[in-house]
Symmetry: C2
Subunit: 341 residues, 2 copies
DNA sequence: CTGAAAGCGCTAACAC
DNA sequence: GTGTTAGCGCTTTCAG
């Protein structure tokens, strides 16, 4: 009635009184096989519901046709956009994508990476966890010469392809925009300074001030982890300063939103009395009221580029590493639009 | 200096003058191996950076330790939450998760499913594409007895484990809530009625009206694809009716939001003049102003349950199928809170 | 407690 | 054009 086990090329070969290699070749459209036998083989394969066993083929070929991706959290807009982009390109190229999330925990990241190694992924795309570690687990990729690509959160000490967004210009544009809107004392809520990303945003901020002959007042710069609560605490601190800011460049949209709500509850009008700009263009930033000006990061594109780069490394053994800096875009919305058009 | 190729159990065996089987056993903590040799083996394995080749092991064991998940679109809050939940449970159980997105295209879905089959996934978790097809590709899973689990969007004609949320009760609770808030004419914006999900929501709505002795006025029910634009068109149509509604139960949060903005621009006050409730608890629903009442769907939990169920099927060969209906929760926010406390 | 041997399903020299 | 053969790296009887 029904077979216990999947049909293999040997089953097909036996049925047709030919050898397994011929079947294998035919199934790969190897031109050395005559059209006639090839057709016979393909017909039978279809009729018995033959599915190649990728496992066996991969073992033999010493490659898995798989690329791994690890992110801090799958369920975050930016990261899921990147994953979506990677999947898009990888699938078209015949690759499978395996994903894992580190939950920003160094130990889970290490464990994941080892598991990816054991699964012989052909390449790994990673945005590292916030929790710092020594990155030994990633260095083995370099040692073993397995393609490795960092995106968003990178590791400076490891030589590899990297894709980041232009955080510096992002910070710069935000700040310049606030200045143009007539805000006079612009504060900054910065993220963890061990992450390049946040450092760059802050440097862009400082540069924009300098270009406009404004000396950066260090007391207006607060550093925290950019959670919703951090935002409230920071803005509360800032507006109670003897000489408080009249605008703030928040390190992400989450803090921009919580700050905005806090200020609104205090009767401070946005953007008339106080300007706010966030970072990342989270979906909510567009629909809250007032809508939040922010910096768009091209997540899907980043994923596509990441996949393209790593596939290039895998298939063409591309040896040189580059760092791709994707442009960021300032999206001006209500929270910082004091002047009309 | 450095080996071209990864060390295998044979390399370790040779080095230690023992057999590969002993190494294999030791690495699996087989108690039949003496502590002494086991320690020697493990020490050497670590020092040479041995990583088991999962491919080989999987081929031998005829299982991939992998579960596949396919969703319409990775980059959507609900789906990425489910994926996150699946990954959470699967990883802890030692499984790898491979993901793919159908983009709601039947052809891509078929192609993905074949690829998962070729990769010998131990089980498949799927939310089917909107574009209809004959589901032959999924029936092969049943034929080959490979665990298959549907979530959210299911296929009635295929016998399998299924996880859905209680859309009926969701629709019911929303409608009852609006009635309790004193709204008198409650409309409904429904999604594609070929999907069970949207049908159930509508039926819950009808039932709640009936329970409160309100006859459902069919003219207040609009069916569309629940895009942002659909929402605007539908609400525009509804409020221009000779006898317009004073509240609307929208099939998702997207239409709830676009409706709300449209009404606000028309000078209609929410919730005083008009009540709105959405569905899904998208992140933005909480932060827009007024915040949108909605139904929470436990995406992460759904993913965890899905993984648990399918692992159970994989590992314990559980034969009976069940349909898990996860509870939905009404989240009352500003957009429908006409009465205090 | 350890070893020998066979084989998972596929591919690719190398033959003819 | 097609067949033979060996082997990818691991697990697992079976034997001792």
């Amino acid at each position: 009635m029904h077979k216990k086990t999947d049909p293999t090329i040997h089953d097909i070969a036996r049925e047709l009184n030919i050898s397994a290699s011929t079947v294998s070749r035919a199934l790969q459209n190897n031109p050395r096989i005559s059209l006639k036998t090839r057709e016979k083989i393909i017909t039978l394969a279809n009729s018995v519901g033959y599915r190649p066993n990728t496992l066996a083929s991969n073992l033999r070929n010493k490659r898995s046709n798989t690329i791994g991706i690890v992110v801090p959290l799958i369920n975050r807009y930016f990261f899921s956009a990147v994953i979506s982009g990677v999947e898009d390109v990888a699938f078209k190229a015949g690759y499978t994508v395996v994903i894992s999330q580190s939950n920003d925990l160094a130990n889970k990241e290490i464990s994941i990476v080892h598991s990816m190694l054991a699964n012989r992924v052909d390449g790994l795309i990673i945005s590292i966890a916030m929790q710092p570690t020594n990155y030994e687990h990633l260095k083995t990729f370099r040692k073993k010469n397995i393609p490795l690509l960092f995106f968003d959160r990178t590791v400076a000490e490891i030589d590899a392809n990297k894709i980041v967004v232009d955080d510096f210009m992002g910070g710069f544009r935000v700040t310049r925009h606030l200045i143009e809107q007539g805000y006079k004392r612009i504060g900054h809520m910065a993220g963890p300074q061990n992450l390049q990303t946040y450092l760059d945003r802050k440097n862009g901020y400082i540069e924009a001030l300098a270009k406009n002959d404004i000396i950066c007042d260090e007391s207006l710069v607060v550093t925290n982890s950019l959670t919703s609560e951090d935002g409230i605490n920071a803005v509360q601190y800032l507006i109670n300063l003897p000489n408080p800011p009249d605008a703030i460049f928040c390190g992400n949209d989450t803090t921009a939103l919580s700050s905005m709500i806090y200020l609104r509850d205090k009767g401070i009008r946005i953007p008339e009395d106080f300007g706010i700009v966030g970072f990342s263009n989270e979906p909510f930033s567009k629909v809250v009221s007032p809508s939040i000006s922010t910096i768009a990061q091209p997540g899907f594109l980043m994923g596509q580029k990441a996949a393209e780069l790593i596939l290039n490394q895998i298939e063409h053994k591309e040896k040189s590493f580059k760092t791709l800096v994707l442009p960021t875009e300032l999206i001006v919305r209500e929270s910082s639009s004091r002047k009309m058009g």
